[in-house]
């Protein structure tokens, strides 16, 4: 197990190192000089040069890369070009909205998918199964930002149950939660559809195993065998999918935050892109990649803990 963790940690570090090089290189080739962008069209060349110097843009590339990575390792992400505040503070502010949004979406998707998958598996081949499977096919095909627009149309404009967009801040937790409900629902639906399908096929696979037959032969009802024995074993692939979905939730949140004008990480990236605030773009993308790689690592680890067969090399 220790060897497995060590091996995975080395892969994790290598992934992060490579990701940082790719992101840094991409940002470097971006046309447009941040200094002249910040100062506007009429800035004197000397002023631009002085600002470039101040921002450290005149240093050699490898040195700037090392400074960037070194800073991040110490929690210093540099100063935003446009807001003139530490990027770490900007990100922390936005995370207060984006992280709860992703978590609520994850919880919603699980809450929708678990009963749907269980129900479909218990009714395999019958009308209820076909109904759930049809609904999940539809759920996978619906773009989440369009679903978000439909939710706004019905729940915000027609029935006025939830706000159509914006975020009031956490000082009023109830209002904040109401503002996040529709975005979380829009994010959760496609993920719930995928999750329900995975759970159903995992359950059906498990239900065919000998130990389930034994449990049934001992007199356990179908439902009891399903929830007491099959569900536990079927949860292993489901957990892996949940870990993978985290990355989709993060990426999806970028678009959904723009639909609802929610000032989270996604809006921050877009604003930074249009304002050529490259240091913010660079850092936020790196943080997102780190989050995804770290979650994948933890999922793999949890998986290996549950299933000893995975610790051996393939």
């Amino acid at each position: 197990m220790v060897r497995y963790i060590l091996k995975r940690l080395i892969t994790l570090a290598a992934s992060l190192a490579l990701a940082s090089v790719v992101i840094f290189a991409l940002i470097e080739v971006t046309p447009g000089d941040p200094a002249s962008f910040m100062l506007g069209l009429n800035a004197a060349p000397e002023t631009v040069a002085a600002l470039r110097d101040q921002l450290g843009l005149n240093e050699a590339l490898p040195l700037r890369y090392l400074q960037w990575v070194g800073g991040m390792l110490q929690g210093d992400f540099g100063l935003s070009y446009t807001y003139k505040v530490p990027v770490a503070d900007l990100v922390a502010d936005r995370l207060e909205i984006s992280a709860p949004l992703a978590l609520i979406a994850l919880a919603l998707s699980t809450a929708l998918a678990l009963p749907a998958g269980l129900w479909a598996a218990s009714r395999r081949g019958r009308a209820g199964d076909a109904l759930v499977m049809g609904a999940t096919q539809l759920g996978i095909a619906v773009p989440n930002f369009w679903f978000a627009m439909l939710l706004v149309l019905v729940f915000a404009i027609k029935w006025q149950l939830f706000p159509a967009g914006g975020f009031p801040g956490w000082s009023d937790p109830l209002a904040a939660l109401r503002a996040l409900t529709l975005p979380a629902l829009a994010l959760a639906l496609p993920q719930a559809a995928i999750l329900a399908r995975v759970l159903r096929s995992a359950l059906i696979e498990t239900l065919g195993q000998d130990y389930i037959r034994t449990a049934r032969a001992k007199g356990l009802s179908r439902g009891a065998a399903l929830t007491r024995h099959a569900l536990r074993n079927a949860l292993i692939p489901v957990l892996t999918i949940l870990g993978m979905q985290f990355s989709f939730l993060l990426a999806g949140a970028i678009i959904i935050e723009n639909v609802f004008y929610i000032p989270g990480l996604g809006r921050l990236i877009f604003q930074a892109i249009t304002q050529r605030d490259l240091i913010v773009v660079e850092s936020v993308v790196m943080i997102l990649v780190f989050a995804v790689i770290a979650v994948t690592f933890l999922t793999d680890l949890a998986y290996a803990l549950v299933d000893p067969r995975l610790r051996r090399p393939a």
């Binding site: 395999r124 539809l138 095909a141 773009p143 930002f145 369009w146 627009m149 970028i254 993308v285 990649v289």
Partner: protein, 271 residues
């Protein structure tokens, strides 16, 4: 043919037909603005209504189908064109450093949140349909590499491949002549799935303004433009969304149906 497969074929066929037809004919010219006709509900003359510039939405949907399908198709082409040779080489040289390097490279691309990187690429190189294709295509490469490697590995152990080896054929030639035709089914099924994911990705990128640019019609951009008018004229937001759902659903059903039809072991089972 099973009903789901038939429905999938009809829906994907309709999108394809609309895209091809739009090359030579659309009911109205979508470059012509007719402000007097703006935001009309569906009628006989405009059966999907008109948008805020008075353009015929049905015509724009047809032209948008062309953009969506073209972007997704080329992205699948990139994924297959690069990924399949990589996967075949990895399988042919199983256990060597080449195999290791290809598979670890794959894992790395998989580790990236694809949409975030697509956004980064289009942000850096400028928003355009071409950059959207590249961004989506890159993430198709590891998918096809993995599928073709897995498919090829099981074939390499079979007797007829060994016979070909004994007959003196090289690994590259065996891969091209014997392995590739036998994993074609797998690739077709995976291609259909990636195609539908590509359409969703293109719509998402265009929606946030990083995909196809005006005057190119695109379903994602139509939705972005519709967003501010959704209260005035809900039909403007409904039509492009339904077009995306129908096409993606059609391709997914087609992919599932083809998988069952092409794999005799699954025949008669409900997958």
């Amino acid at each position: 043919m099973k009903p789901a497969l038939a429905l999938g074929a009809v829906l994907s066929g309709a999108a394809l037909a609309a895209a091809v037809l739009s090359l030579v004919w659309t009911p109205y010219d979508i470059t012509q603005l007719a402000i007097a006709q703006k935001l009309q509900p569906p009628s006989l003359a405009h059966w999907a209504g008109t948008d805020h510039f008075g353009r015929d939405i049905a015509s724009m949907l047809m032209a948008g189908a062309r953009t969506s399908l073209a972007v997704a198709l080329v992205a699948v082409g990139i994924g297959m064109g690069v990924g399949v040779p990589l996967g075949l080489s990895a399988a042919a040289l199983r256990g060597s450093w080449v195999d290791e390097a290809i598979m670890r490279g794959n894992d790395l691309i998989f580790a990236f949140p694809s949409l975030v990187i697509a956004i980064l690429i289009t942000a850096v190189f400028g928003p355009s349909a071409t950059n959207a294709i590249i961004a989506i295509g890159i993430f198709n490469i590891p998918v096809f590499a993995r599928v073709s490697r897995a498919g090829a590995l099981s074939l390499w152990t079979l007797d007829y491949i060994r016979a070909a080896r004994v007959a003196g054929k090289g690994r590259a030639r065996i891969s091209a002549e014997h392995i590739l035709p036998n994993i074609a089914n797998l690739l077709i099924v995976q291609g259909t799935i990636q195609f539908s994911l590509g359409i969703l990705a293109e719509a998402g990128l265009s929606y946030v303004g990083l995909g196809a640019q005006p005057p190119t019609a695109s379903w994602g951009r139509m939705l972005a433009e519709a967003q501010t008018m959704v209260t005035l004229a809900p039909h403007v937001a409904l039509a492009p969304g339904l077009a995306i759902v129908a096409t993606v659903l059609g391709l997914n059903l087609l992919g599932d149906g083809l998988r069952d039809a092409l794999d005799p072991r699954l025949r008669g089972r409900m997958a």
